[in-house]
Symmetry: C2
Subunit: 489 residues, 2 copies
Amino acid sequence: MSLKSRFVGTAKRQMKQTLRPVLQRAMAPARTEIPASYWGLEREPSQGLTLEGVPLKELVERWGSPLHVVHLAALRRNAERFQAVPPGCTAGCEVFYSYKTNPVPGVLSVLHGMGVGAEIISAYELWLALKLGVPADRIVYNGPVKSEASVREAISQGIQLLAANHAEELGSFARIAAEVGKRPRVAVRVSTDSGWAAQFGTPIAGGAALRAYAQARASANLDVVGLHAHRGATIRTEGEFTGFVEAVLAFTDTLHLELGLDLEVLDLGGSLCTPSVEHIAERDWRLNLTFFRDVPAPDPAQALGISRYVSLAVEMVESHYARQGRQRPRIFLEPGRAMTGDTQLLLGRVHTLKSGEDRTWAVLDMGVNHAECVRNEYHQLFHVDRPDAPASRVYTVVGPICTPGDTLYHAKRLPDLVPGDTLAIMDAGAYFVPFATSFSYPQPAIIALEEDGTDRLLRRAETFEDQVALDAVDPVQVNRAQQNKTEAA
Amino acid sequence: MSLKSRFVGTAKRQMKQTLRPVLQRAMAPARTEIPASYWGLEREPSQGLTLEGVPLKELVERWGSPLHVVHLAALRRNAERFQAVPPGCTAGCEVFYSYKTNPVPGVLSVLHGMGVGAEIISAYELWLALKLGVPADRIVYNGPVKSEASVREAISQGIQLLAANHAEELGSFARIAAEVGKRPRVAVRVSTDSGWAAQFGTPIAGGAALRAYAQARASANLDVVGLHAHRGATIRTEGEFTGFVEAVLAFTDTLHLELGLDLEVLDLGGSLCTPSVEHIAERDWRLNLTFFRDVPAPDPAQALGISRYVSLAVEMVESHYARQGRQRPRIFLEPGRAMTGDTQLLLGRVHTLKSGEDRTWAVLDMGVNHAECVRNEYHQLFHVDRPDAPASRVYTVVGPICTPGDTLYHAKRLPDLVPGDTLAIMDAGAYFVPFATSFSYPQPAIIALEEDGTDRLLRRAETFEDQVALDAVDPVQVNRAQQNKTEAA
């Protein structure tokens, strides 16, 4: 590096360092953290953060670090809110949990025990739902890739709803249905002008969705009972949800008028937010990176909550159909992040600290290998041991895998850290587990914490042996076995 | 959506569609694909693409889809090039493969069988290296997170080199060494002005690295024999490498002058590119997204190759030390992507096609769950069954997991596809396996293909049962077991 470029680099660095405290104050966000009480956490001076009376620190000592903790009371509360009948309505919604969001059998079983069904998108998820004892009529099968064998199984079992992601799927559904000799309950997934399109759904605009319905109804092998729509893009406001539902309802009128089709099932998909999680805006991210300005925390009270969301769904559908003097269809919801996002937290420890010129790096035993979402979403971070200590020092919080991409928080004010301190990343119940990798480190255990403070293991931590359990560790022997097999054949 | 915004949307779409063919021609990249022969693939009219005489299509039929195929001849060729003594030199380099890049025991064993050592960054990787029978003196331990137990094991075993990522690690090395009663061979990781810094290494600039060496040498428990430097940012040109080596060599002079330290080991790390893979530039990515302009293919012949890289390393170090009349240190290299990147390919199948207004979506049975890197790197894609058919149609190639983020190729010209067609993603031997997830789908098998066309299984495909093997599928029973354990205690 030339002297000149080194000089420019130093000048830039010094300017940043000078501007940082000024900009941090001048541009300070209104809200920089969400209080621990939001999640039912309590601050006990001698024990640090506790949940259901149990010090979180104790859980890591007992079960190892890192550790996922499922808060069962929060999970049950969310499920109850989704299943409640809104005041003044005759019935509520039927709820199918989006398996892909947090496919932990111990979590799924709790939901199923409360009557929540399974929303699945793969052959594996169908297998898992059946293995967990979910009745076939509590399973909805979506997604762009459904293996032949899984469609056959779904039809044989008589699942609640088989949704054609795109018109091309209808042909194979009809063929397999004829072979099985059963008439599956089918929906067509449509896409509205807002939200996801691309590989998902058949557009209402331009008439493609209507043509798909006409095609579906022309097949004697398919029982076309439903419509499936999933916004995809996160729903945080009433307007985002009502705009979406209005577009869907308008299309149900088209189906009635054009095809004489009255739907039995209206599946409004998922996409409702976790109130305490929000995508970090590009500008906020850059200000944090350059000037260590705190990332603004979302205000959970401003987000559309579960109860209001369910009320809106039921009221909009009921009033729409009441105006037309027709019976309202059953309403299906497929929550993912809104159901489990804020019901799980990830505990980990500070492994080492590295002092730098303008900050300290806190290197944790957990990184993007276990918490990929933290790279671009706001997730509250708590110091478990000393939650009341002033957050006076700026840390760059990174994980253990050897890449600069393994950065969880670029510039985060925290109490003074020492190696061994326990930290809690909140809202780890959506897309943490499915996006986890075994990159250089085994995956953590998952435990459930009951309201009475008892805990139980849902998934044990991966061991080193597990990481190579599928491998032929001595390839020479495998080669011989393969040859023997070939010779014997 | 309002009529106005719908109109604007339609107008934009139509403009894009009109401009696309014009821009595709006017801005066509000079190079849009790398020939199959580059990887030793052959085009057989009746069999499609073959490798070592074996039709790739047959491999998927035999082993299932998706499927990783390790090309052993290519792997051995790369390892030989790294270990060769450059013409005119007295010795070459000692090579330690970066485990995290492709931690497949069957691949690692081949490399170890050729004398390549292990570069590890975690307790798991130390365990794996020892399990695979790597001699302790062929192990280098790097990275910012080293568990206490693994440092103890490394020192007890007497590994070749224990590198302190940052000065703070030296204290714990010394303490554990005193407890074990052995004096480990230690290096300090330094960072130069180019390449990675952040949580990695101690900066040469400002004197921090020199102070870390003084600190290390002050400990009677540490045998300070080496220097570790790893550029991090990919090395594609001679200039990128020579600039980095010059900065490192200048610092070795400082160590000699200031501390009287003559290094036994100079570890230059990794970071050499895979010639046929290149990060996709933002502009190229946007042009592809908006106007379906082909993504430019890198020219492998323009990239710094292994042999030239090794020659440069040896020549630069030898001549630097010769000029000073001092003996040159041993040179360690830690290749990752350059060693295995182009020695593995990922086969998968077209599951379904979805027609859209301006393109067709090809939905594969493999996506970012198995091939995360394809999101931002150029990876050649081949039609395995009809490699010679004209690539006349534009597809958006997506995977099976239900998110728009599961897009492998935004706009890719391919021969006409039909469901069941086999595709090959090239250069899957770096960071595909470690970044793989079990998101809704099990992970694929990995096989090795020998030069005589025989194949053998390195890692079997994950099964549905494997995906919940660590789970308490009936949480009620686990709860009871846990209670019994507690009561018994």
